[in-house]
Amino acid sequence: MSATITEKIFSGRCAREVCAGDVMMAPVDAAMIHDITGPLAIDKFVEMGGKRVFDPAKVILLFDHQVPADSIPAAQNHVMMRRFAEEQGILNYDVHEGVCHQVAVEKGRVLPGDIVVGSDSHTCTYGAVGAFATGIGSTDMGFALRFGALYFRIPESIRAEVNGTFAPRVGAKDLVLSIIGDLGADGATYRAVEFTGPAMEVMDMPGRMTCCNMAIEMGGKAGIVPPDETTRAYLAAIGARTTRQKENITPDDDAVYAAWKDYEVTDLAPKVAVPHNVDNVVDVTAVAGTEVNQVFIGSCTNGRYEDFMEAAEVLGDQSFSPDIRVIIVPASRSEYLKTLRAGLIERFVEAGAIVEGPSCGPCMGGAFGLLAPGEVSLSTSNRNFRGRQGSTEAEVYLCSPATAAASAISGVITDPREVA
């Protein structure tokens, strides 16, 4: 029977073939908790009578939102999480390791065909390696930790078929912003988004992570790229086992889709999501010249080595505008090291940037880099909601690393194609 990748992944784990709309108690291959949502999930696990987690080797436990602890309550949460990890025999990625989604993927904890839950909405990022991964709340997570399974309603899928070749300085972030602009912030609610087509096939793993990361910004339950040679090469390079993948999970073109969308990237312009909604997407030219106070390059959306390369290429030997704050935060220790070894960190600092250790950074207005009323931030992260990065009277624009770098040089929103 023809099936979407989501249906194939669930059928692969169930005793029968499943279809969109089916509700089932399915096993999970990994469950991720971090310092914000983890403590509540652990409380729920205990309230549900939990003593031992279903499988310590399948629990991914991290610290990334408030690291190193930015307040005493945060420090207390960290203590509680560390104690839980130790008691349960769960490997603990402590405050130095990086943002949950980047770490989960780069440590090989998520494999093609896996069913993964995380108590963070951007868990959908793991679809980049061909897993079905979805964000859940803390009570659902308590259940998953206890039973190693969760209720799922198998979602219908939207097929996003991407054609063409990106122009220089246009890439995955511009594509996913344009798809969100097209579908709307709730255009994929209760659905999985399958990213396929020639442009996805040649896209590297970081780009695929950027696309899947933002599936939730269109309401999606998951974003998935079918695993291929690029996936296998990536997993081999990080030393991950690929044996867990049993079934062929390439989606069938004649599967039943809730919608089939064709996107063409050849003429795609750099995109910006304008305050205060992620689906307020315009070409960079429409907002060029807007003054900014802070530029943030980082987050689970765009905090990888390749993103910093993109920014560094635009920067060249120029300096960042002295009138603004440029904050650069690698998404993980390993991405930090790659960026450092390539000499980019030195270049950024020389150009006037503040570089912080791997964390969520200013993405959610928690630890540092908050905005005052009336300030404007340009950010490579994934949300521009009112108040997301500080004051509710501040404004957040979202863009690619190239656009962020171009704008950080001039101090106003700038088309990266116009920087020499």
Binding site: R13, A15, L40, T123, S138, G366
Partner: protein, 162 residues
């Protein structure tokens, strides 16, 4: 009992801003509910009030702090034209009833509303509006009193792998 009316795309950062996420106590969270976006809510919301939103209510972050803050304010019913997925599920798990009502937009601030979930309708200012039924598997959780209580009723998990 008053209706607090909100628009489309109310996100969980608006319901409870990121800087309060080290708090887990519903009553304390409630003192910061909608802080910065709807500052009259926390001091004035009362037991039994109802929140009415537009499309995509509860979008964004998966933080369960959002329904907890709402619950802490004494609100156990949220009506919207549509809900973001994680928030919808979090509501059910924490004991807040999410009601999908296609006519949510016609309900006004200050209206009196009564919800009849089992019968599939609500009455707003004397006018009857249809609401969508809660999926069967979620009804089991609600009937148990939330997911924690439901977990205690499980003797052997019926996995789809069997």
């Amino acid at each position: 009992m008053r209706v607090w009316k909100f628009g489309d795309d109310v996100d969980t950062d608006a319901i409870i801003p990121g800087r309060f996420l080290t708090i887990y106590d519903p009553a304390e969270l409630a003192t910061h509910a909608f802080e910065g976006t709807r500052d009259d809510f926390a001091p004035e919301a009362e037991e039994g009030d109802i929140i009415v939103g537009g499309r995509n209510f509860g979008c964004g972050s998966s933080r369960e702090h959002a329904p907890l803050a709402i619950k802490g304010a004494g609100i156990t019913v949220v009506i919207a034209r549509s809900f973001a997925r994680i928030f919808y599920r979090n509501c059910i798990n924490t004991g807040v009833l999410p009601v999908i009502c296609p006519d949510a937009e016609t309900i006004r601030e200050g209206d009196t509303v009564e919800v009849f979930p089992d019968e599939g309708y609500l009455i707003a200012n004397g006018v009857r509006h249809d609401i969508e039924p809660v999926p069967a598997f979620m009804q089991k959780i609600i009937a148990a009193g939330g997911l924690v209580e439901y977990a205690h009723t499980i003797e052997e998990l019926e996995l789809c792998t069997k």
